[in-house]
Structure formats: structure tokens, C-alpha cells
Symmetry: C2
Subunit: 352 residues, 2 copies
Amino acid sequence: MNSYYSADNHGPFQLIDIGRFELTEGGVLEPCHLAVATHGQLNAAKDNAILVPTWYSGTSKIMEQVYIGPGRALDTTKYFIIVVNQIGNGLSTSPHNTGGALSGPNFPKVRIGDDVRAQHRLLTEHYGIRRLALVTGGSMGAQQTYEWAVRFPDMVERAAPIAGTACNTEHDFLFTETLVEAITTDPGFQKGSYRTPADVAAGLKRHAKLWTVMGWSTEFFRCGRHRVLGFDSMQAFVDGFMTGYFGPMDPNNLLCMAWKWQRGDVSLHADGDKAAALGRIRAKTFVMPIRTDMFFPPSDCQAEQQLIPGSEFRPIESLDGHLALFGTDAEAIAQIDAHLKDLLAQPAPVLG
Amino acid sequence: MNSYYSADNHGPFQLIDIGRFELTEGGVLEPCHLAVATHGQLNAAKDNAILVPTWYSGTSKIMEQVYIGPGRALDTTKYFIIVVNQIGNGLSTSPHNTGGALSGPNFPKVRIGDDVRAQHRLLTEHYGIRRLALVTGGSMGAQQTYEWAVRFPDMVERAAPIAGTACNTEHDFLFTETLVEAITTDPGFQKGSYRTPADVAAGLKRHAKLWTVMGWSTEFFRCGRHRVLGFDSMQAFVDGFMTGYFGPMDPNNLLCMAWKWQRGDVSLHADGDKAAALGRIRAKTFVMPIRTDMFFPPSDCQAEQQLIPGSEFRPIESLDGHLALFGTDAEAIAQIDAHLKDLLAQPAPVLG
């Protein structure tokens, strides 16, 4: 077991058994455990719930630390905020914590839609929730947010996908392929049968470098933001921050999430017709890209936003690129907070 | 010998022996051959010469095809245009065409400044040229352009660095490191002692994928520009265009150029003081980044431009990112042409 994924590091969270869970691509998780962190109280009407899914490599912990608290948009005094760790992230059922035939490299393929179906079962059966005041998340959390709004349009009152797309682009698919290959070409990877992440240290470091190149922005480095964060050179930043972050993670977990990330695509709900799929959304939706995001630039996100009825385009100004999501730029987080407060103040649409 | 680098593919060009050439980092090329393609006629006053250095992986051929001709800014009826292939590019003295102790992986480290000194020797000793009407190039050609303007300020009347920087950024250094590692981690690379590029095919393909991710732009792919170029999917584009382009190249040649690219930095002429170095430039300078360039975004280039006396910022609008340099976007090339014509119409500054 990998001690990185401990409750000490990422807790508190509950492991909730949602039972036997069939995956879209074949394979069954039995049972499927979702690691869930909740904040605030569900009211009697059960209409104050906010769902927050997680991003690639992230867990519920960073969502709590950066986005949730009293007085924030995700206000623990008003809302019941449910952060659900995505399948494969190391806390929920994942390659590294699954024994038997589905262990490690034999873990089945998981889709964004599987996560959303699993979360739907959790919310309806475990909590008895039938309506969500808001779904919001960043990056792969945005993919899940879009999937929720398209798949369950009568359940989502408001949606705020941040720094992510509804239909992953060919460009981003290829970038993620380079991440995957950074890991799988490490001789220590051994087709996924390595003993510990340390066996794949070189591949994980190359993976971290690619994240460094694309995850922040050229302006971030030109303006010395990495120095402001306490690293006196790019090398120190790559080693200390980025490799320090990714190095302890389980490679098969990362690959499970990467496969899922590459294939996020709500148009699958409408025979490949993106406009038709996004046209189903009834949630009041704010699309919130980050100006300097090299994965999901505002132009890509705006093209999708324009297909969502009644939606608004709410870009975030930051030099920190995609990884402004980490909370490194307090002003970016303040903008996100302000937009989310504005969204939560909007009247709920009349759903089914 | 690698048939890719033949005169059939890249000619016509002359191989000019500039004699024994000592490199900044140690090592001697004896002799150093520069592959040179000239267009037009040098006039009697020898004041109509334009120097065009080459970019990473490029040769004089693409500069001829995309940028040079009658009626173009680089007008063969008015100017004597000298395209000099950079050391290590496969036509000039390079790892793959050097025998003996400096062959292949044992080729010495070359700096941008070495290329510029070699070109200076060529121009002054071989052609008797003492003044350049213009130096212009893209990417590593821009690095050489800046180096010329700073190192030989009394010789360069006009300078047009396109899609490149005077001082390579930490961000770009790291990106180039990922390119290098894509090649060197291929087991077939054998520390540079592979037999043919085909032994390193997997590494060269990963290198091509990274170029695909960063070399174009997200907008390029969103707008289906790769389909317009004749490839019906990203996979076909990666295989047919990008891997087709890089696959035949010699890995040690690419690594020689990559090392040089990473370390391009005119501030070395002023003890690391970028402002002082750029302040030396006397050439009338147009700084011409491409709007969607993910290597050398306009913001990075403008920060340098503002340090160059009398310079102008002339950004190029294109969806094609850095590789608009390839000529895939005719409108971008038309903009470059218009700016270069404008620059060539400016009075020459009074030099020393």
C-alpha cells in the first residue's frame, strides 16, 4: 500500500460502499468505494447540496483547502458540500488499492460517465438527494460537471465548469498521451508491474516536467512566479514542487485517470453531436476558463459555452495557467469565488 | 550517411570551408563547413546583403521556399540573400557528417554565438561583406538574429527576429529538455551510438508529438487546420506530417541544435544584464512574434523589444502557433512579408 494516499495526508474522508458497479467499457467494481468528504449540513428539504468532483491527481483535500469554507462561495454554513474523489485517484477504488484480478495494470477502463453514474448513485441512494444547487469542479472536475449537467439535466440547478471542457480536444488528448508515455516508457514501469512508484521515478519526473511546461504558463515563469513560490530556479521548481508533488503517486492510478481524461466527451450522449448534447443542459451555467491555460484556453471553452442555453462566459484572469486551480494565485481564487457567489445567487431554473 | 540531408532534398547549396574553427565551449571544428544557399546578386558596393540563418531542424531549403523570391520582401532582384545553415543541422558541419573523434555523440557543444562568429567569418572573408541590410530568421534563426545585432552592432542595419527570443526563457529551456529526453530515453538511442535514425524511431515519434502539442496551437486544432492541411485526424497528422517530418532526421544532429537552442542568451555579452546587452543594438529592429506561439508568446517577446532602442513591436496574427513559420498560413507569411518590406524601406541607421 502507498502511504501517500493515507487519511493523514488527504483526510478526513469516508469510504462509502456503493455496491456492485458495472463500467461502461466492461469490467465490474464490486464493490465500488467512493471516498467522500462532506462539509456543512444537509437541510431538511435536501435542497442545499453542492457536488464537487476532483481533478487529475487531486483529492478532496485540495478542494477543501482552496475552495471551501465559511464565507466562501462554497459556504459550509449554508450548503452541504460533498466532495467525491474520482475513481482511480487513489482514495476511491483505484488500481493501487484493488486486490485480485483487477489490481494495478489490470484495473478496468473508467470513463467520466462512470464517475458521474457512481456519484449519482451515492447522492440518491446514500443521501437521498434529488436536486443539486451546484456542481462545480476544475479540469477533470469540469469534465464531470459537464457530464452531470448533460446526463442529469433535471437534477442540476447550476453548473460551473472551471478550466476544463465538455468535449476533450484532440490537442489535449495528444498532450495527455505524452504524459502517459513519459510514464510507460520508463523501463522501471514494467508494464505496470513495478513494485513502488520509486521504481518509476524517472518516468514520473518526466511526467512532472511536461506538467511544468504546459500546466503553468510562459508568463508565470517570465514574471518569476515560481520564485515567489519559494524556488530559486526552474530546476528547483521542477524537483521540489512538481516532482515532489507527482513523485509519490501511483503510476497506474495516474494512467487510469489519464485514460478517462482523454475521453471526456458529452457528445457521446447525442451520437457525437456536441451542440445537441450541450443544448440539453438546463442548469444555469457559468463557463470559467483561465486566461493563460494552455490545456483549455478560453477560446476552446467559449466555443462550448456558446452552445449552452442561458450560459455565461466568466473567464478568470491569472498568470498561473491551468494550475491556478492549485490556489497559488489568491486573486484568481477570489475571482472564482465571486463568480460562484454570483451563480449561487441566481434563481434556480425550473427543472423537471 | 543519412540520405535525408542530400542536395536532392535540400539543395542547391554550396559547402564552404571556413577553416579551423574554435568553439566557445571547447573543441575545434577543423575545418568547419558551412552549407550556404545564395539568391540574387551582391552589388558592387556590397551593401545589398541579407543574412538568413536557419531554425531547429530546418535548412536553407524551407527559407527559400517560404520567404525568398522576386517581389517578396527578400527580393532576389534587389538583394543578395545568403541563407546559412546552422552548425549541426545536417548540411553544415554536424554530428552525423563528421568523422573521427568528433563523430556523432562526441560532437562538441555549439553555441548560438559560435554560429554567428562562423557566419561573420564567412561574410567578411569569403564575400568581403562589411554591412548587412538585414538579418532575419525565425525561432533559432531569431536567436541568431539577436546575437548578430548585439555582437556586431556596427554591421547590422536592420534586424527582424521572428518567433524567437534574445534570451531563451526558463520555460522554453524546460520544454526543450522534454524534447531531448524523448530521444535520449529511447533504448535504441544507445547513448548516441545508434546505427540509423530508424533505431530511434520511437523516441523521434515522441519528440514529434511534443512538437505537435507545443508547436501549433490549441486554436489550430480546434479550427481543424490540420484537416485543411490534408490529415483527417490528429493521429494521421502526428504520423503523416510531424513524424514524417522529424523521423528521418539524425538524433545527434537534433540534440546538437537543442543544446544550442536552450542556451541562446545575448545577455552573456553584458555579464548577464539583458537590458545592457539589448541596449547595444543599433540595427532598426522589428520584433515579430506570432500571436498563438506557445514557445515564444508575444508577451515574452515584447518584454525584450522594449529594451531595444528604436525598435518596433510587430506581432503576426495566426492560428498556426510557432509553426506558422512553416508557411502553412499564407496570411501570416503575407504579414511577415509586409513588415519586412516596411523594415527594408526604413533608412539605415548611421553605424560605426
